[in-house]
Symmetry: C2
Subunit: 423 residues, 2 copies
């Protein structure tokens, strides 16, 4: 069931398949040795990477790209060292490949084992963060997959330098350098080609903004793992401890507003709305947050002497990724759940409550990758969850849901061993 | 990320979503009670189902539909009783929903649990086997999913009768009848509508022939689980016990040639080809099998006095689903693996060997849902694997691979419980 795609992507994918075949059979020791060499090479050749990156950064500045994006694009010695540290960390993690997930001996004596195996060829499409290049290469190699990396054109020189360094290290470690390949980022065609490389690419993972993810998910014939759009809610229940609710709200909204696990929307039970908003609205203002509220919240703002912008449905649906917050009151937990069902993106949803029945009702009724009780949604992260690494946060229900570590970069294979059994 | 689709499918899906919300919170006892009522209703209203089925069968005969397909379409008391037995069996299986797949307490005291949850709304597109209607409804209900059933137009009356019976039983058991809904099968549009019902349908499972599966997989924007195309190989190694190889070959080829786990292609190491083929070719002929062979196999046929048709690449790629078999010799295990890599569909691949290194090399190198050593591929089946039920055999790598039971009809949700932790 292979679909034709451009000869360039097809050629890269064919080389990746050859490399993947070798990687699938590589022992952990060989993969870890390659990861350590990759780490050493990044630190040893930092100058080379910085030079390439400086050219990307200069071009981005000249093109008027916003400062926040230029910052994410920029590399220095510390950032390259962090990439190397990530590779060393991947080397220290257990090998997911070969894990026996399930096993039994059947009544007829057949021995059944379900074993983790690599996907084969993984493609990742991402935006202007060159550190993703090393992170994704490391996690894919550790999990026995060859990777096709399609970064942003604005990071093309940086990514080319990083990939050249990584490929040399992989080759020096005796593994096929085509385990790590860069896809031409100069046109959108290469994304389209990856999306339609059915049979050549086993899994495609888009990482980046909502538009990128939507276009990949909707247009792809290759299996996709959808990641990371988060319109995350915090619901302050009638039985919430209000200081706890405020502490979690401020952390989840302001500690890093640009990430997908930041809270974008506040729901407050009407029974505690007056009390809670009278302290929360000034605290949010002090933290630089603009609140987009329902009429009740606007009124509470007036009482508290805080300007609240009137919220529209667009606000309730927004993943701001900024110091903005939509807010409304609800008359019940059920109304909060219904609001989340309507506007949520299935990422991370939080309840603050001291009521065990309310916590149980919320965690049961809310359909999301992660549901939190009395904790900040900022913890929704593969590293925080103890996975040691993260390739992204899946917001789909198929295959993987929530933070994805190494195991989520694998498939399984059943191995059945008999002594001549027939049916 | 909801895509528009026709109002009919959208309306069914919206009702399914409401039902799914109730089912997701239903206790096992309630679901099992509904399954037992569904079973009783099928046996109690067999006459009604037979009458509807007789009309479908008559129309199919009048339309000149092949006898084998008419046979699969036909229901009698015994077949309806078997459907009811399947529902009772589903009731007896453990509930996959709520299983804690993974759990830990993090260093900061957060309690992390990964819990199985239903997908929500599952759509199944299938061909003219009315028994699938009851089987799929039962497995979806047990796993907490609402199901949209899109069967064949030739089974429309049978399916309508079965679904009416099942819905009455679900309602009588106090669960929402919209947990089981039939999609209009009179036009291809309804398949297209299901394929594009993104956000309305959580998972789409095509069951049937290769053409149906390909068109669904390639055209769908809803997540798909690809099932069941099997060009399955049997490799007779240089170190094979030849009587065992012959026994497995005959069983895997002839016990039920029309199913996806039947062997379609024979690979024989050249060192044992003379010996093996001299007995295998006459035995295959005696069993009514037509062999499509490489020149060496044609020659062996001449020696054995058995006609062998010359094989083309189309033969090596074919999923015959009939008493046909492609065959060739190989000079090594590696050549067998390379042949399987080229022509296999990733379903089930078998080696017969007494050599442990050969078994290990084959199971490691072959990339398929199931790899068998010294056993018939006819065992590749959810029932045989001890899953108690099967919704299909996945040949994709994402989410599920190989026979799919109840657990494969679920997703997971992380539940994180804290006491006010912030990051």
């Amino acid at each position: 069931m292979t679909t034709s795609c451009s000869s360039e992507v097809a050629a890269l994918a064919a080389r990746a398949r050859e490399a993947a075949t070798v990687l699938a059979g590589a022992h952990r020791s060989a993969k870890d040795a390659a990861l350590l060499r990759m780490a050493d090479a990044l630190t040893g050749r930092t100058r080379e990477i910085e030079t390439a990156n400086a050219a990307d950064v200069a071009a981005a500045r000249a093109a008027g790209i916003p400062a926040a994006i230029v910052d994410r694009l920029s590399l220095d010695g510390a950032r390259v060292a962090a990439m190397a540290a990530g590779l060393r960390q991947a080397a220290a993690l257990p090998d997911p490949v070969g894990e026996v997930v399930r096993g039994s001996t059947l009544a007829n004596g057949l021995e059944l084992r379900q074993v983790r195996v690599p996907f084969g060829v993984v493609a990742i499409v991402y935006e202007a963060r060159p550190n993703v290049t090393a992170d994704a290469a490391g996690l894919c190699l550790k999990s026995g997959n060859a990777v096709l990396l399609r970064g942003s054109s604005s990071a093309a020189r940086s990514n080319a330098a990083i990939v050249a360094v990584l490929r040399d290290a992989v080759a020096a470690a005796g593994l096929p350098p085509d385990a790590v390949q860069l896809v031409d980022a100069s046109s959108r065609d290469s994304v389209r080609d990856l999306m339609t490389a059915r049979g050549l690419v086993d899994v495609l993972i888009p990482r980046g903004g909502a538009d990128l993810i939507r276009s990949v998910v909707e247009g792809s014939t290759v299996p996709v793992i959808e990641t990371g759009v988060g319109n995350c809610h915090l619901y302050v229940d009638a039985d919430a401890d209000l200081p706890t609710a405020l502490s979690i709200l401020l952390n989840a909204k302001t500690s890093r507003p640009s990430v997908c696990n930041a809270v974008e929307s506040l729901l407050v039970h009407e029974r505690v709305a007056g009390d809670f908003l009278s302290t929360a609205l000034p605290a949010l203002r002090a933290a630089g947050v603009t609140v987009h509220g329902s009429p009740e919240v606007v009124l509470a703002g007036k009482t508290a002497g805080v300007d609240v912008v009137e919220a529209t449905d667009e606000d309730h649906a927004a993943e701001y990724l900024s110091l903005d917050l939509s807010a409304r009151t609800v008359s019940s937990l059920d109304e909060a759940v219904a609001h989340i069902r309507r506007f949520g993106t299935g990422h991370s949803e939080t309840i603050v409550t001291s009521s065990q029945p309310a916590a149980r009702a919320f965690t049961s009724a809310v359909d999301a990758a992660v549901v939190l009780v009395n904790a900040s949604s900022r913890f929704v992260d593969g590293g925080e969850f103890g996975f040691g690494a993260e390739i992204g946060i899946s917001t789909q229900k198929l295959h993987a849901r929530g933070p994805m570590g190494l195991a989520e970069l694998t498939s399984t294979k059943y191995v059945v061993t008999g002594e001549g059994q027939v049916r």
